[in-house]
Point group: C2
Chain length 191, copies 2
């Protein structure tokens, strides 16, 4: 998606440890028009797929999942990372290892919000090592639902997880694929 690639070039910053900081438009601060445009693009890509639910992980995936849900007119659901007092006892869970925080945490979705009748679209802001997506896939599997695909804003192509998923036959649509950040210079994969 050209608008997203341009925004990454204009405002993204490469930090040590292969971190691409996009906090000014996609994370802590969200560029509302861009977020909605991303949501509409995801809806366009999955228009023929009869999606029933959009699934993401808190917190940074929520904005894009909400925009995709709005554009698709289907509910969005976010997996929680932290135990909540109001959390129902009946949940599907999956472990996720975070390279950023160097720890394994559990993600959870209440059983009432995903079921075997669902055709689920995973949405997230980043796809790097693929751990969050694999955790969400595990929850979809436990729920007996169908995975329609994964719609990602920014894929770090050089980390390989997106291509591994594709090689497994999973549909992965990334609106921008960063092929290299060597020397602090962002290069995109042609799509």
């Amino acid at each position: 998606m050209k608008a997203l690639e341009e925004k990454i070039m204009a405002e993204g910053t490469v930090l040590p440890g292969n971190v691409l900081k996009v906090g000014s438009f996609l994370n802590q601060q969200m560029d509302s028009d861009l977020i909605m445009e991303i949501g509409r693009e995801i809806a366009r890509l999955y228009a023929g797929e009869k999606i029933t639910r959009v699934l993401t992980v808190e917190s940074s995936g929520i904005a894009i999942a909400v925009a995709a849900g709005i554009a698709l007119h289907v509910p969005s659901v976010f997996a929680k990372k932290h135990k909540s007092a109001n959390m129902p006892k009946e949940v599907f869970t999956a472990p996720v290892y975070s390279y950023t925080h160097k720890e394994t945490y559990e993600i959870a979705v209440a059983k009432e919000y995903i079921g075997r009748e669902d055709n689920v679209l995973i949405v997230d802001d980043f796809l790097a090592n693929g751990n969050a997506v694999r955790g969400l896939m595990r929850i979809i599997e436990k729920a007996g639902a169908r995975l329609a695909g994964c719609a990602i804003a920014i894929e770090k192509g050089f980390q390989g997880a997106g291509d591994e998923l594709r090689a497994q036959g999973i549909r992965v649509d990334s609106l921008a694929i960063v092929q290299s950040m060597e020397g602090g210079r962002v290069e995109f994969r042609a799509q």
Copy 2:
């Protein structure tokens, strides 16, 4: 807002400890059309106010803040509750006591995402004891920005914080005000 009150009556559940569970449409699962309608209503209420930024706290406030930001065509920003590895060092912080979790946590917004030129609209899913809103107000104050008002989806009117803020001269718009949940029966304040 009639659509929100009707949804609360249809799907909200009163749990022990004055908890109003709205996880099926406003929290873990989000009714996309309703969320966008809430965003549009907030934009309508603040149309004359020249809002420059929408501010909320992760995670449950993000969906509504994103929808309000989309409707207002201004960026939305969320305060983080947990320290993040990618978090800039320069942040405005404020302590917030959570009655749900019985602990005080710190919320933080990077200084680059809020400044003295801003006219900020606080958006949140719930206003109960007002602690989250007061934490966000503290951050706006530290940034030297102006607080335009607080737009809330559901105010627990019987907990009094909304009226205290109004008595202080702060504009608070709640799309549904729950006046009582006695005996598990939700009653709204006429607006």
